[in-house]
Subunit: 207 residues, 4 copies
Amino acid sequence: MPKVSPEYLESRRAEILDAAIVCFARDGFHPTTMKDIVRESGLSPGAIYNYFQSKEEIIESIAARRHEKERQLVLEAISKGPIATALDRVRDAFLDDLDSPQERLRRRVSVQLWAEAQRNPQVRKIVRRSFDEPRKLLSEMLIEAQKRGAIAQGANAEALASFVIAAFHGLVLQREWDSHFSIEPHKQLLDLLLGAVAGAPESAMAG
Amino acid sequence: MPKVSPEYLESRRAEILDAAIVCFARDGFHPTTMKDIVRESGLSPGAIYNYFQSKEEIIESIAARRHEKERQLVLEAISKGPIATALDRVRDAFLDDLDSPQERLRRRVSVQLWAEAQRNPQVRKIVRRSFDEPRKLLSEMLIEAQKRGAIAQGANAEALASFVIAAFHGLVLQREWDSHFSIEPHKQLLDLLLGAVAGAPESAMAG
Amino acid sequence: MPKVSPEYLESRRAEILDAAIVCFARDGFHPTTMKDIVRESGLSPGAIYNYFQSKEEIIESIAARRHEKERQLVLEAISKGPIATALDRVRDAFLDDLDSPQERLRRRVSVQLWAEAQRNPQVRKIVRRSFDEPRKLLSEMLIEAQKRGAIAQGANAEALASFVIAAFHGLVLQREWDSHFSIEPHKQLLDLLLGAVAGAPESAMAG
Amino acid sequence: MPKVSPEYLESRRAEILDAAIVCFARDGFHPTTMKDIVRESGLSPGAIYNYFQSKEEIIESIAARRHEKERQLVLEAISKGPIATALDRVRDAFLDDLDSPQERLRRRVSVQLWAEAQRNPQVRKIVRRSFDEPRKLLSEMLIEAQKRGAIAQGANAEALASFVIAAFHGLVLQREWDSHFSIEPHKQLLDLLLGAVAGAPESAMAG
DNA sequence: AATGAATGAGATTTCATTCAT
DNA sequence: CATGAATGAAATCTCATTCAT
């Protein structure tokens, strides 16, 4: 099976990552063995090592792909409509797929990545970026909103962006572990908070 | 030859758990070897196995201890002052020690536990409880506040409790991975949210 | 589709062997991978396997080629001049190229072959021949010299041939590993020995 | 099996090295698997790795032990008798055990070490020393002999030492691979050479 | 003839756990 | 109760070789 197209190679890489995600979501990075990934992917060990240098590199590639995916999600949500409702679109983009099985699988792996970031510097770098960049994008958007007067001048845009992201991450966890979880009430609370910020007196919001 | 006091036994167990936490916070559960724990604790492998049946049991004990600790934190915060300011006390109890090094160590292990819950049923049970019980305590308190009229009647107490906890969990992650993190602005946003809930019209809060 | 000249095939084989020698001289037979040889030769794995059935066959071909080369060296040195100075010519033929980089590369592979002969019967056969045949050639030459009276009658021609070869092999090793090595003094010692043998009383040389 | 004596540990190390030597002499370093060593030693893989960090370290330890052994052999031969016959004793010490099966095993491993020195820097260091140090010891002895007038003043002591060692190494190889090998004639040739050096005119021996 | 992706047996090493002392 | 050497199943990764194209 010689000289195949770059697209073929890329799709093989993706296949392997998808198989690995299934395994990692089930068992976590370390208890998952290469044999598990071999079984799930239907390839041979050697084939996998033709595409990735090590298990670590698979994990790091998943982290990178995940990060890129989220960045796109934010960027698209922001750009794909009137600026006034951008935050709503971001909110929906993230919260809505908390219920998609496919996405839950990936969110479980995100939780693994938060844990893995503690020991793997490469993963840590990507996880840091996955916190920093969305916060920056969101907070730029909020500053824009302030300029338009849609949000109180005194509001601390960066903190608000940060807080919204924190809430989202916390909800990811609850989606997994809290037996009473449902999305809708949290959306309303988020809106309530944003509404409150919109009208907040300066003193309440100083950074 | 045996015959030592139960207190001695308990303090030995605690020593081992403390040593394990140091290791787990650094490397995660699975990459940490029993040898690491042996080194950190200064005990021998045999000694450790006299107190715990397995590495899994150490992890589960840490999860249980952690859970119990948090439950106490909520209970104390609620009971140790006027009910009107209980939520403030809970908020402070949790947020303030996000900056204590000792506590950060333990929070890092909490992140590991979220990941581990995916594969270890025993840990999952404890993690579930650590989501459910605090939510229940908080939401009971909020319902109490509603009865007193301190919060709008229409507010969805359970969702609010849940949301506050989600935000806290998200902040634990940011404390670790976001390079711009500081607590204070988030406290203010939390207060803003609670203030908004207190005065919210029923329609905005229907569960 | 095949149909290429035997010369082409032979030159391809030689290319591969040359590339392999570079690798083997650097890393030894077993640590050298086929991938290394692929890289060094610029061919593909499949191409190499069209010329050799296995890595072992490459090693054995190198051994055979090496052996043949040395046999020629002795034969030429002996035949290319007056018999009286044949031994000098052999001596020079072998010692002089101990300083050629090309030849050092090949000598390094000879050392590998000595080691490999321990486990690979085919290589062992060739290595044995590479000890036996030159010894035989040399010793026949010495017997000739005895008949002419150039060497004492009592001299043990076979042992002397053997000893001269031993010294040469030892010098190959020293050339590689002894930091103080230089050829010239050893040539003189060899001459001194041969001179002594020429005039030795029978008693000193009985086989 | 806790807390055993350092002697016990040392003897276990030696056992492992002895088992490894048997395997290495049979198959060479790289084709020998850890499983082979496990089988030969009767220990478990884990046990072996309690004493050596890697297979490489086993090889290096064998090299070091071998080197030390030879150094002792030279030192003892030199010091254990009248200086006038020291060279004879060295000669005998080395040549005589070329026929001992135990020693042949070890010599086979020496050949492996010469090959291995090409790629393993640690082994190379030891092999270099095993060439340099004996040469130095021998040549100091020869210089002493010159001072006493037992050897011609003009003789190049260092080259002679070097040559004698080369011959010995070459004989190690022949012992293994030459089907006609026997020691005795070579001893006589060595003596003849030394005798010739003893009486050589200065011009023939200038370094 | 050439290519190079795929194979899969097998190599080295680790590590949770045991148990003789 | 403590020790730590020993165990051995299993993990990650390699690499000679094949074969569809």
